[in-house]
């Protein structure tokens, strides 16, 4: 299982999914209307490293995090 966490203001419970890459996660989330804006403006990290490729391979035990727009300080 891959654990998917939604950080900061994205009010959503953590998901546990049987997926093998980020394309599959995009497919699962694309029909969720409330998530569309977050998908457009969020960065994605796998095991706490930012990734830029939807074909990124996921294995059981991986953690995927969605990071919405930031504003520290």
């Amino acid at each position: 299982m891959v654990r998917v966490e939604f950080l900061g203001p994205i009010q959503r419970e953590t998901m546990e999914l049987n997926i093998t890459n980020l394309n599959e996660l995009a497919t699962i989330l694309k029909d969720d209307k409330e998530m569309q804006e977050w998908l457009e403006n969020s960065a994605v990290a796998v095991n706490d490293t930012l990734v830029n490729n939807r074909n990124f391979t996921l294995v059981s035990g991986d953690k995927v995090s969605l990071l919405p727009p930031v504003c520290g300080g």
């Binding site: 900061g8 203001p9 980020l22 995009a26 998908l39 969020s42 706490d48 830029n52 520290g72 300080g73």
Partner: protein, 154 residues
């Protein structure tokens, strides 16, 4: 050194500690930036969420860049609520000579604003409202959006 605190920062005490830690390190310059919550738009204060694993990595990368220039950085940030006229953020650079610290504090604070995984909320009528309009999407955002990926292909 990265320090996170619940609530507002004790600015004078943190800066004093940092200054004293480096008194015998032979740095010729110490530049600090302190971020304080201003009264505007009738807010009661700000509140912060932090994702520490990625913040730590971000900070370590900047520390390595500082080290390559013979400098070091320090940072303190608040978690949770910080009221008006209290401070939530301190960044500092120590370097052998002034130019490195003056230039580095600018790059480091600007990248902090654009990349550090911290989310800001306005406190208003006991509610926590995400400061969406003032927030910046991290570089590479939109990876999971079909719409965004199609736009990028054009």
């Amino acid at each position: 050194m990265l320090e996170l605190y619940d609530g507002s920062l004790s600015v004078a005490s943190i800066l004093k500690d940092w200054y004293e830690e480096e008194t015998s390190s032979n740095y010729g310059a110490f530049i600090s930036f302190v971020g304080t919550v201003r009264s505007e738009d009738e807010i009661d204060g700000l509140s912060f969420d932090i994702y520490e694993p990625i913040l730590n990595k971000w900070f370590d990368e900047w520390q390595a860049r500082a080290k390559a220039k013979g400098a070091i950085i320090k940072m303190a940030h608040s978690r949770g609520d910080v009221l008006l006229h209290e401070s939530s953020y301190i960044a500092a650079v120590f370097s052998p000579k002034r130019r490195v610290a003056l230039e580095f504090i600018d790059e480091y604070v600007e990248d902090f604003k654009a990349s550090a995984p911290i989310w800001k909320y306005d406190l208003r009528d006991n509610k926590r409202i995400y400061a969406k309009e003032r927030s910046t999407a991290i570089k590479g955002s939109g990876l999971l959006s079909d719409k965004k990926n199609k736009e990028d292909e054009r």
